[in-house]
Amino acid sequence: MYGYSGKILHVDLTNRTVRTERKPEDWYRTYIGGVAMAARLCWENIEVGCDPLSPGNPICIANGLFAGTPVPVGGKYGIAAKSPLTGFLGDSMSSSWFTVALKRAGWDGIVIHGASDEWVYVFIDDDRVEFRDASRLLGVDALAAGEVIREELGDDQVRSATIGPAGEKMVLMANVTNDSRQAGRTGHGAVWGSKKLKAVSVRGTHGVRVADPDALLKLCFDITEAAQGPYTQKYRILGTVSNVLNMNRLGLLPTRNYQQGVFEDAELVSGEYLHEHHKAKTLACAQCPIACEQMSRVTDGPYAGAIAGVEYESLYAVAPNCGLNDMRAAIKVIEVCDKGGMDTMSTGVTISWAMETFERGIFTKEDFKCAKYPEGFEPYFGNGEAAVTLAEMIRDREGIGDLLAQGTKRASAQVDAERGTETYKWAMHIKGLECPGYDARGLKTFALGLAVSTRGACHNRTAAYDPDIQGEVDRFSVDETRGELAKDTEEYAAVYDTLPLCKFIRRCFTGKADRAGAWPSIAKLINATTGWNFGYDDVDLIGERAHTIKKAFNIREGWTRKDDHLPYRWMHEPMKEGASAGHVVSEEELEYMKDLYYKAKGWTKDGLIPKEKLIALGMEDVAEEIGV
């Protein structure tokens, strides 16, 4: 095989053993890599029904097909496990050198089973695997741990994926970090922490064989050239944070825990402001010609010295959504999250839930006692120091941080059970995963995409905001097209997440981001790498299969139609001001759109998958287990 080694590494932390599994070429043709391959490995290796923080939940890592090749933005990998936040499949992605090293070490993926008695890190040195003592790494932050390991091994080419202090304490929104990038969502860091696994480190010394190097290089040069032009200008110049003012103007910027879609101080937390006042440098992942990460620094005030890569999805969560108009505090919160190894989105939205709960008088100052503030503090919206302190408390599970470390779904359920309150009404999550930076009350197709997402409230797995924001449909209303649109956009996204390729490249093939504009070029990349003969339809199938294996996993774990929901607030509280004022997603609208979506997918009215559908996708064994 070209492009693959054909080998999956199985690591058993309980018994400290390893074995190699060889997969047939058809398996690779079906699951390709990234999120789909990681999900499939999870399907094959999990103890069905297990506690996500138990040894039966495997960590599944799958390289991208293009990792280690010259393909632009192809240096990505997928990771999957049962999510401790959602109880369903937690799939995530990260980029850069770790996956390149893993590919060069000769592994297409890793499955890590069991749990260790003592803290370990796994060192993969090409085909040799070591279990190494990680006790001296405990407490080392997620950005520094890889460097400590490099020093210990005396090799600056070793690349590591690690957890930070939050993962060690099994904070449910903890993430996995490599090369300063994060597999951010769904709580993988907690799963690693439950296994006492601090890091996976890799030294890879082999090349990656591709079928047609000359053709591949030509394709790569063309894409790289296009990536320097207008199609990526937003990412290169301001980065994703340029969305702040756009979303604010459209009335979609989550503000004060999604109570509003307009933030009066949006200019002060905008990408433009960040660029002018805080920009330190721009970074790129391995294999990336775009370079979108805006490293931003605080130079004065109490948080002077704080530095973090600031993305829109981090910024909305910790700034407008917490009522913060102080960019310095926002950067500090993001730095606490990045070093602690926590998802900025879930952390920010959980803090905003705590702030609203405080402002409504359910939490009091007494609830916020900690070592830093023994008398407690008042986390009202806009209190930057409170946001910083709460992020630290979540990371350390200190005081109320132990409650908040569970995320909004569990925290609100616990508070409501203990105090007889209804804080669930402002707990902004779907399936337990906190909401992204777009208020779905003003984006009806997106609302459906989020509700039915296998991952929970994730903007990356459904691209259904595209038809809303780009004006293909009226974003404020519902019609019979929305089921097909939600299907098409999630499967479109799944193609990119499975190869994986960063979606920021999507206009650089022909100038058009749609299937017709991108799939033929992607097929050429696949064929030049593997020697296969993929065409448009084969590329399209990648997305449908990827989404189907994730859905099948969830069904086997007990998913039912009622799990495809939206937060109470989005369904009962119309937006109050701005361009989306007056809008809400009604129960009737959501259920109507879910019917349309299940029909478009070829599923039953209950959202289950017919056997014949699975067999047609080449998933006979899946059909046997969950097909109807």
């Binding site: 207008p230 199609y231 200008q233 937003k234 990412y235 110049i237 301001l238 980065g239 994703t240 944070v241 340029s242 969305n243 003012l245 756009n246 103007r249 459209l250 009335g251 990408g271 433009e272 993305e311 829109y312 999805e313 981090s314 930076g437 777009y438 903007h459 990356n460 691209a463 905001y465 595209d466 924001i469 780009q470 004006g471 009226d474 979606k503 920021f504 206009r507 100038g511 058009k512 981001a513 701005g578 361009a579």
Partner: protein, 93 residues
């Protein structure tokens, strides 16, 4: 004669150094005339935001009128008083 305001975001704001500009159109003027006026008034927009011919927006930039609807056809006419958002919106991060 209809008068519209164009609001700048992201790259267009950086290039123009302004948050907005006012354009007065001839009777029957279209959104394409708005593009032409912008290209003439701010030559730096050509390339990244407006196509080099000065007639079309560069994908994926777009006009959104009053934050309510996206203009799919530049040959339609704005209304007097419209606020036209010139933005490049693609989610991510």
């Amino acid at each position: 004669m209809p008068t519209v305001v164009v609001e700048f975001y992201g790259t267009s704001r950086q290039v123009t150094g302004q948050k907005e500009t006012t354009i007065t159109l001839e009777e029957g003027g279209t959104f394409r005339d708005v593009v032409r006026t912008l290209a003439a008034r701010y030559p730096g927009l050509r390339g990244n935001v407006i196509q080099p011919n000065g007639e079309e927006l560069q994908i994926p930039n777009m006009f959104n009128v009053n934050a309510q609807r996206v203009i799919r056809d530049l040959d339609t006419q704005p209304q007097d008083g419209d606020r036209i958002l010139l933005m490049f919106v693609t989610a991510g991060g």
